[in-house]
């Protein structure tokens, strides 16, 4: 990065923290600190919900997914608008009218303390595990790109987040999120325009799309059903709906966002805004990845995208020999891509596609051989390699900065919700129920600092392990959503189910999820509906059994 990029990066970070602090002023009560005094308009909540979900690694790995696997990942988001509509119609008015700080408080009002305690514990365990990883994953990538030690990167991210989250509470978090989303989307549009403008003069935008399509990178919809396939229209519309219902309807990091709304209508609009915007946004990010793929068909990419790993191996004899081979296979692939562009009828197009596939396989074989010389995957560095090498000065600093702050946005959401649940559902509920507002405000600020520090420490631990650990922890996080969704569905709609039945159902649902995760090959997206159905089935069965028993006992006593 040039001096101008560093200046832009630091200015952007200072602006973000300063703006967050300024917007968060006046958060002098618990209601202000945790719920922004229920004063937020829909667009702030809507953009904040989008920002919390879109972590840095989403941008880095989603563009990489478009590059390597095409656009089929967009189908994962097809369930989101359905979930948003269902939540706008049900959860939003229920949570608002229940007048709660957290979603789990509602469970005690509806069931009993033990069900609230169980779900609170599930949330804290799963989110605590993820919070460190949410920091570690982008910090690893940015440390490599910026050339900083990992601990400095993690500490900088965690420290900056703690400053504005602990000072201004959710108001700071949400306004900072708005600022980030606007700049992130603007930067991505510029990145796409530049990727397309850097293509050779004889390759138009439409040509680029035809080449990307022929290379299988514009595969946005797959109608084939397969239980073991993560991304097709069926997992997107059915399984993802459950996952998003759970995420937006039961995860405090999201529920807290729309509880800040100044009215039920504003909260509904924030969810519906996401319902409308999220799928096109993801399509757009994946499309950038596909266009970066086309760009690297005409501009020879590095054999290994990971700059750190590249440095380690580029002087070796094996690498040099692979580099020489890469030049040949790259040229063959470029020629094949031009043949696709120039094909005028179906038969010449088919021949050109066959030629391209062979050339792409040859290229991929060389790339894989080079990766075997390294110790880490390089997919997370594809987009950043493009950004740092081909974007104009200043913009590089801005895009690295927005990726930096996208990570901070996700972390601020995590630690803010963890602090809220720790104070409201644990500390106030079990340890100090009758303290003053000032006391809980102080406790909330301290809890924010503690969870932030915890995330930095866990991130340092996670970074010493392999990337596989990070992926595992991320997947483990999604193992809890099914049971959480199940218990909330019961709470909202099955009025006859008792607290004990819901409690036992939740435990059974969790066991079912672990069982399927360990003993079957079902794609992880299906675990949420499986868990949800198991919770409901067991809870309803227990309730029915208990009711029948008491009816029979009543009859015996009556007779």
């Amino acid at each position: 990065m040039t001096t101008l990029d560093w200046v832009v990066l630091f200015l952007w970070l200072a602006l973000l923290v300063g703006y967050g602090l300024w917007r968060g002023r006046g958060s002098g009560t618990v209601n202000q600190f945790l719920l922004a005094g229920k004063s937020m308009p829909w667009y702030v909540m809507g953009l904040s919900i989008m920002a919390t979900q879109a972590s840095a690694i989403t941008f880095i790995s989603t563009t990489a997914q478009g590059f390597t696997d095409g656009m089929r990942f967009v189908q994962f988001y097809f369930g989101l608008p359905i979930a948003m509509v269902l939540l706008a119609a049900t959860a939003v008015p229920i949570f608002h009218r229940a007048k709660v700080y957290t979603a789990y408080e509602y469970l005690e009002k509806r069931f009993d303390p033990k069900t609230r305690g169980l779900v609170t514990a599930i949330f804290l365990l799963s989110r605590a595990a993820q919070s460190g990883v949410a920091l570690a994953a982008p910090a690893i990538v940015l440390a490599v790109v910026l050339g900083w030690p990992f601990k400095v990167t993690a500490l900088a991210m965690g420290g900056l987040v703690m400053i504005y989250t602990a000072t201004g509470g959710i108001k700071s978090v949400q306004w900072a999120d708005v600022q980030q989303m606007v700049v992130i989307m603007g930067s991505l549009v510029v990145a796409l325009v530049i990727a397309v403008s850097l293509l050779p003069k004889d390759v138009s935008f439409l040509d680029a799309m035809r080449i990307a399509g022929a290379a299988g990178r514009l595969n946005a919809v797959d109608t084939h059903f397969n239980w073991n396939d993560r991304y097709n229209i069926w997992t997107g519309v059915i399984a993802s709906t459950f996952l998003f219902l759970a995420y937006f309807g039961t995860d405090q990091s999201q529920v807290q966002r729309y509880l800040t709304g100044k009215s039920i209508g504003q909260s509904r609009l924030s969810l519906l805004f996401n319902a409308v915007a999220k799928v096109p946004v993801q399509f757009f990010i994946l499309f950038i990845g596909a266009m970066v793929f086309v760009f690297f068909l005409f501009v020879q990419p590095p054999l290994v995208f990971h700059p750190g790993e590249l440095k380690k191996v580029q002087q070796s004899a094996e690498y040099r020999s692979l580099e020489a081979r890469e030049k040949t296979v790259f040229e063959q692939r470029e020629i094949a891509a031009r043949h696709i562009k120039d094909a005028r009828d179906a038969s010449s197009r088919s021949a050109a596609i066959a030629e391209f596939r062979t050339a792409q396989n040859n290229f991929e074989n060389v790339h894989q051989a080079a990766l075997r010389l390294t110790s880490e995957k390089d997919t997370n560095y594809i987009f950043l390699t493009f950004v740092t090498n081909y974007l104009p000065r200043g913009l590089v600093g801005l895009i690295v900065g927005v990726i930096f702050t996208a990570a901070m946005s996700a972390i601020s959401g995590e630690i803010n919700s963890l602090a809220t649940v720790s104070v409201i559902d644990v500390y106030r509920r079990h340890f100090k129920p009758e303290a003053s507002d000032h006391h809980y405000l102080k406790a909330s600020r301290w809890a924010t600092v503690l969870w932030g520090s915890y995330a930095v420490v866990v991130a340092s631990f996670a970074a010493q392990r392999t990337n596989a650990l990070i992926e595992t922890v991320n997947q483990v996080g999604s193992l809890f959503y099914g049971s959480m969704l199940g218990v909330f569905v019961i709470a909202f709609f099955l009025k006859r189910v008792s607290g004990t039945a819901a409690f036992l159902g939740t435990l059974a649902g969790q066991a079912a999820i672990f069982g399927f995760a360990i003993f079957s090959n079902v794609a992880y997206l299906w675990l949420t509906p499986i868990g949800c159905v198991a919770v409901i089935a067991v809870a309803v069965a227990i309730s029915y059994g208990t009711e029948r028993q008491s009816t029979e006992t009543g009859r015996v006593v009556g007779s």
Partner: protein, 47 residues
């Protein structure tokens, strides 16, 4: 401690279409149109 129920939370009609269920239907129809658009996009550029 201040509770979040210091003032009543108003419900209000949507800014367009008059009733919330109508807005929900429009969002779902929009989703259908987006999926159809993506499907046609995929078919058009398929290898």
């Amino acid at each position: 401690m201040t509770e979040p129920d210091d003032h009543p939370i108003p419900d209000e009609p949507p800014p367009i279409l008059g009733r919330w269920p109508r807005v929900y239907v429009v969002v779902l129809v929009y989703l259908g149109a987006v999926i159809l658009g993506f499907y046609l996009f995929t078919v058009h550029f398929a290898p």
